[in-house]
């Protein structure tokens, strides 16, 4: 039972990690915590279902189109809303509160917009990307989709780590976050980089939505899962891609073990307890760099 709970916790942890990765990309590039990340995941799930059921696309085409549209959506939001808020300033010099409030506003707006669509009043489910009979390891059972989630989470983490550390665009994104004025002076198109970070994070939320919707089920309130992504990010350290994956896994496993040894009722409060514990014991998380203190 404990082994099954631990493995299922790892899978759920990777679910939280995917959301956390989307949060960390934006945080690393713009210093903003995107409170609409959960709604991005929710929108991607509904979009995927729409493309499959209504437009009759096949699964690979749906994945490509959903991720592309989500990329465009994130970039558009940055261009039309955040860019106006930042104005001519660089992100690091701009007031963060209006930007964070804009993401909170966006989350409510997306939730409200989805609720207007009649069929969303029911719980819906996107067909899984990886389907087929479950896989057994002795008495342990795992769905193929679960294994797929773990593999995708690890691959995304590796790709992003390599991308941020070894590619020109990744380095430009980091420079934009760390010192936008200096980045601009050496010719990095700061605004374009910010737009790209939002597009990238939104595209990642698209992948997360496609993977998570079969597992978490889709309702307009599905975006509340962002709190678990935030918890994973805080545990791992808000600036570490590896950290947030490990943070997600720790969170998923602890939740399940608490569900077994304490009570399922305690599962819902576990993330908040862990957040408090980490903030008190290790404010930068398990793998995070020391964060700059900003007045927000």
């Amino acid at each position: 039972m404990i082994l099954q709970a631990t493995l299922s916790g790892i899978v759920m942890g990777c679910v939280y990690a995917l959301i956390a990765l989307s949060l960390v990309i934006i945080y690393k590039s713009t210093d903003v915590v995107n409170f609409a990340a959960g709604e991005f995941v929710m929108i991607a799930g509904y979009l995927g279902l729409l493309l499959l059921d209504h437009f009759g696309l096949n699964y690979p085409l749906m994945v490509v189109l959903t991720v592309t549209l989500m990329f465009a959506f994130g970039a558009l939001f940055e261009r039309t809303a955040l860019n106006k808020i930042v104005g001519f300033k660089y992100a690091a010099e701009a007031a963060l509160v209006p930007m964070v409030v804009a993401t909170i506003g966006l989350s409510f707006m997306l939730k409200g917009a989805v609720r207007v669509i009649p069929s969303t009043e029911e719980v819906l489910r996107l067909p899984p990307l990886f389907s087929g009979p479950p896989v057994f390891f002795a008495n342990i059972v795992l769905q193929r989709q679960d294994i797929g989630i773990v593999i995708v989470a690890v691959l995304v983490m590796i790709a992003l780590t390599l991308g941020f550390n070894f590619t020109a665009i990744g380095k430009a994104l980091r420079a934009t976050s760390q010192n936008p004025r200096a980045a601009a002076l050496i010719g990095i198109p700061v605004k374009r980089m910010r737009m790209m970070a939002w597009g990238l994070a939104s595209g990642l939320a698209g992948i997360s939505g496609i993977l998570l919707s079969p597992k978490l089920l889709m309702t307009p309130d599905m975006g509340n899962v962002v709190m678990l992504g935030i918890a994973a990010s805080i545990v791992g350290g808000f600036t570490s891609l590896v950290g947030c994956v490990i943070g997600g896994i720790v969170l998923g496993v602890v939740q399940n073990l608490i569900g077994i040894f304490v009570s399922p009722q305690a599962i819902a409060v576990t993330p908040f307890f862990i957040i408090m514990l980490v903030l008190v014991m290790r404010p930068n998380g398990l793998f995070g760099e020391a964060m700059r203190l900003k007045k927000v």
Binding site: A5, V15, R115, P127, L216, L217, G259, I260, P264, Q265
Partner: protein, 408 residues
Amino acid sequence: MSKRASKRRFTACAVTTAIVALTATASMTPARAEDPGITDNEILIGMFGPLSGPLIAYGIDPVQAAKMLYEEANKKGGIHGRKIRLIVEDDKCSPNDIVSVVKKFVTIDKVFMLHGGSCTAAVSAAADYINREKIPYAMLNAAGDNAVFPPTRYVFGSFQGTQRAYAAAFATFGAQFLKAKRAAVIVHDDEYGKANAAMARATFEKFGVEVVIIERIPPNISDLTAPMLKIREAKPDVILSGAYPAPAVLIAQKYAEFGMTAIPLLQAAQGIPTPSVFAKNVANPEALENFYYTWAFNDIGDAAVRTKYIDLFKSYNNGREPGPFMMSGIPSAVAVLAALDAAGRDLTREGFVNAMEKLNLKFDAMPGPLEFGPKRRDGARTMVIIKYDGKTQKVMPGTYTWDGKEAN
């Protein structure tokens, strides 16, 4: 005793007697003849339900169904010559909204009575105000456990059964039909789940079934691994679930994933708003090999009943096919119409409440009577059990009626 003292005592006695008599008369009077919301040719009813927001499915079709029955009654000349006029408001199933809507109906629109509410927490929030203002109130389709237990004079509800009735029906079915000896119960950690679990345990124990585990889960739970593993470890031979739609799907998925499909899974109706959508979400036929749910209506087993109400609904809604909750708007409207009729032409609020209290109504849409009494405000206690395999729904033999005895 002096003459003056005797006169004073007589005067005091007379005044006291007069006050007592007036008070008694006032309390015994059925109602003021000039109750608000009634004219010679109209009865004004304030109707509400969730017409927007995430719980819209529980309200939109039931409200339309109740409206169509009132309009049908109006077509036949109304009730004792009075037509029914409705004012409809959206309560979003929110306690704050429902209280505002009810206050608006009472103070601004001055309605005769209230009819509405699809969610237990919301209707419970309005119950105090309704009783204080002495406004007759019939719930639309909320289970309403907290609003009808303990019973209060003006609040009538549970027209499709309470959580107590669902749990009692399932536990009786599990013990008597499925011959279970060890039961597991999984419910939410809210008032809804508390009522469900207490009644399930009491009923199972009445039949000598051991309740081996009760798991309480948060409504927003995203991973059912831990509770379902604990249930598997407890080795039950029947599982009763009172979960809401999303957790109900996750329960069914884990139940199949962990190889528990030989154990019957009994799911209360609130978890499967639309059976076909539920089956599609579960996406595993094995999970539904041994699956049952409670239902408070005859429409599944009786095609004539189904056709009758669906056709009527479509005729009032431009041919639109109703959702599965449409039937839940029927019983309360039927009961209100019957009580208005029984209260007679000299209709007053108190007269209507008295008529509701005496109601014992059997009609085609329900497997048992809608019944109230001086100490009873929950209308429906009889359920049928449906076996659902993802394609076909089969009504199991018999009906299951809660005896009204509270769980300790």
